[in-house]
Each structure stands twice: as structure tokens, then as C-alpha cells.
């Protein structure tokens, strides 16, 4: 019983850590999804779903988009569509591009040094499985 509780607590803190990690990546993921072209909200959501395993709800992404816009990292424009209603497209501002590039550089540096450190661990877990 006690062991069971300990294990579930362990798993819970592991989950929390994972949530934090994903949370930290979300802003970068959104900026990255807009790197090469402007997109509207649903496109961004689908892009995040298909190209990363960040499953995000619209309730999270839309408020975040409006915050990134208020911070001057994104700009938006309304574009008429074939669907019969306009869509709000977001694109990176120069400040947003700069920020995305800076974040990507930090990410690359960090993940490569972490990979070196984690190499033995991941090899170990593979042989376990």
C-alpha cells in the first residue's frame, strides 16, 4: 500500500515536470510554427499537433496568441477566405523573429549538451526494454 502510494507520487511529480517542460516550449513552438509563413489559429493548432507532440487546446492557444501580439512579437491581419468568413492570420514581427531565433539557439545549445549528459541513461533504458 505504502509502496503503491510512493509510486503514484513519483509518477505525479514526473507528470508535473513534463507539463512544465511542455509549457516552457509552447511559446517557442508557436513562434516556430509561424517562422516561414503567416497562419491562422486553427492552422497553428494543427501544425503543433502534427509536428510536435504538444497537444494544446484552443482555450490555451488563442489567449496566448493575443498575448504574444500584445507583446509585439506577432502581428495579425484579417484575410477573406473561400469558406465565406474572414480569418485572422498571425505573422512574426521583426522582434518576434529575433526572439524566435534567439530561443531556438538557446534550445539547440541546451539540448545538445543535455543529450551528451543523458546519453548513458537513454541507452540504458533502451536495453531494459
Amino acid at each position: 500500500m505504502l509502496v503503491k502510494q510512493d509510486r503514484s507520487r513519483e509518477q505525479e511529480s514526473g507528470d508535473k515536470w513534463e507539463v512544465q517542460l511542455r509549457k516552457g516550449c509552447l511559446e517557442l513552438a508557436i513562434l516556430a510554427a509561424l517562422w516561414d509563413e503567416r497562419r491562422y489559429g486553427l492552422e497553428i493548432l494543427r501544425r503543433l499537433e502534427s509536428d510536435s507532440d504538444l497537444i494544446v487546446s484552443e482555450g490555451t492557444v488563442y489567449p496566448l496568441l493575443s498575448r504574444l501580439k500584445a507583446l509585439g512579437l506577432l502581428r495579425s491581419e484579417w484575410v477573406e477566405s473561400d469558406a465565406g468568413h474572414p480569418r485572422k492570420y498571425y505573422a512574426l514581427t521583426p522582434a518576434g523573429k529575433q526572439r524566435a531565433a534567439a530561443m531556438a539557439a538557446i534550445w539547440a545549445q541546451f539540448s545538445s549538451s543535455m543529450s551528451t549528459l543523458l546519453g548513458p541513461l537513454t541507452k540504458g533504458s533502451r536495453s531494459h526494454v
Partner: protein, 207 residues
């Protein structure tokens, strides 16, 4: 699109609009139009916009209250990035408190912090006006119990006891008061950030 689908969209958006009251009017308009366009796109994924499709799209967005709450918490964080004035923070907190229990408790805590901070600053400011009465008074009552009282200086000089801080009231009051105000703002922002964190990406269940 059938009338029923249209009605459901309007009902959802008008509930959301009510809860976004207080935000800049243009921003609210943009939010509502953007979500309308999103719902239509999502509901039409299979071709025609149907009532069932709209229901699915609305369910994915969560309750209007929850969504409004996220917009307001984000708005608080954005505004604070520009100015950390307690008035602006409180203004956003009042809106947040009307939307969620969490917001209510953060508001109560913040009001407490700001009021306490303001009292200390007032204390320092009143010392030059009431040099003989404002201060930290220590007195011993008839039973010998020591009592400490923070006096703003209104009223007459107390019959017993003495002011232990003297002019130190000014720097101490300003420092403590200002510190409380800063801490309260940080507390409010920390809560808003934590609140947003609770609603962030979950693991992919299928993997």
C-alpha cells in the same frame, strides 16, 4: 448553416462577451470574431456546418467562463509587462475575480497586501506632519503587559508609553510599505502565471 448551429455559436459568444467586459472594446471584438471564425472552420471540417459540428467545436474550447478567465489572466500578465502599477494590477484582478474562485482569492490577498503597504507608506508620510504623535509606541498597561501600537499620529499625545522609533519611522515606513507593494504585485503575477500553467499542454495519451 442551419439556424440551430448559428444560435449555438451566438449563445456561446455572447456568454463569453459578458465575461470579457472591462477588456478593451476593440480587443473583445477581435477575440469574438476570431473565435467565431475558428468555430466555423472547425465545425465545417466534414463539409457542411452542422449543429453537432458546432457542439464539438464549442466543447473543445471549454466553458466561456474558463476561456474568459484565461484571456484575463493573460491580459494581466501582458499589462504588467508594460506597467506594474498597483492600480492596473488591481483592475485586472477585479475582472479575474468575477470569473473564477482562484481570481477571487488572489484579489483578496492582493488587496490585503496593498492596503498594508499603503498604511506603512502613510505612516512615514504623516510623521513630518505629526512629529510628536506618529510612531511606534510602546506602553505598559496596569497589569504590566507590554503593548506595541503603530500610530499614524491623529489624536493627542498618548498619556503613557513612548515612541521608540523617532524619525526612523520615515525610512522604515517607506521601505516596508514599498516592499509590501512590490511583493504583492509579484504575488499576483505569480498566481496568474501558475493559473495559466495549470491549463497548459498535457501529455499525448495515445503514445
Amino acid at each position: 448553416m442551419c439556424d440551430e448551429a448559428q444560435q449555438r455559436i451566438e449563445a456561446y459568444l455572447s456568454r463569453l462577451q459578458k465575461r470579457l467586459r472591462g477588456l478593451n472594446r476593440e480587443d473583445v471584438h477581435e477575440i469574438l470574431e476570431e473565435l467565431r471564425s475558428h468555430i466555423l472552420d472547425k465545425a465545417a471540417a466534414g463539409g457542411e456546418v452542422t449543429a453537432a459540428g458546432v457542439d464539438g467545436a464549442l466543447a473543445a474550447m471549454g466553458s466561456p467562463e474558463g476561456l474568459a478567465s484565461e484571456y484575463v489572466a493573460d491580459n494581466l500578465l501582458t499589462r504588467a509587462a508594460v506597467s506594474r502599477s498597483p492600480l492596473r494590477v488591481l483592475d485586472s484582478l477585479f475582472r479575474w475575480a468575477s470569473l473564477s474562485v482562484a481570481g477571487f482569492f488572489v484579489l483578496v490577498g492582493s488587496i490585503l497586501g496593498y492596503v498594508l503597504g499603503a498604511i506603512f507608506i502613510l505612516w512615514a508620510a504623516l510623521k513630518p506632519l505629526h512629529p510628536r504623535t506618529a510612531g511606534l509606541w510602546v506602553s505598559r498597561d496596569s497589569t504590566g503587559e507590554l503593548t506595541l501600537s503603530l500610530r499614524l499620529g491623529f489624536g493627542s499625545v498618548p498619556a503613557v508609553g513612548r515612541d521608540v522609533l523617532g524619525w526612523w519611522v520615515v525610512p522604515i515606513g517607506l521601505l516596508v510599505g514599498w516592499g509590501l507593494v512590490l511583493l504583492t504585485t509579484r504575488f499576483a503575477l505569480w498566481c496568474a502565471r501558475e493559473y495559466r500553467r495549470m491549463h497548459l499542454p498535457r501529455r499525448v495519451e495515445a503514445h
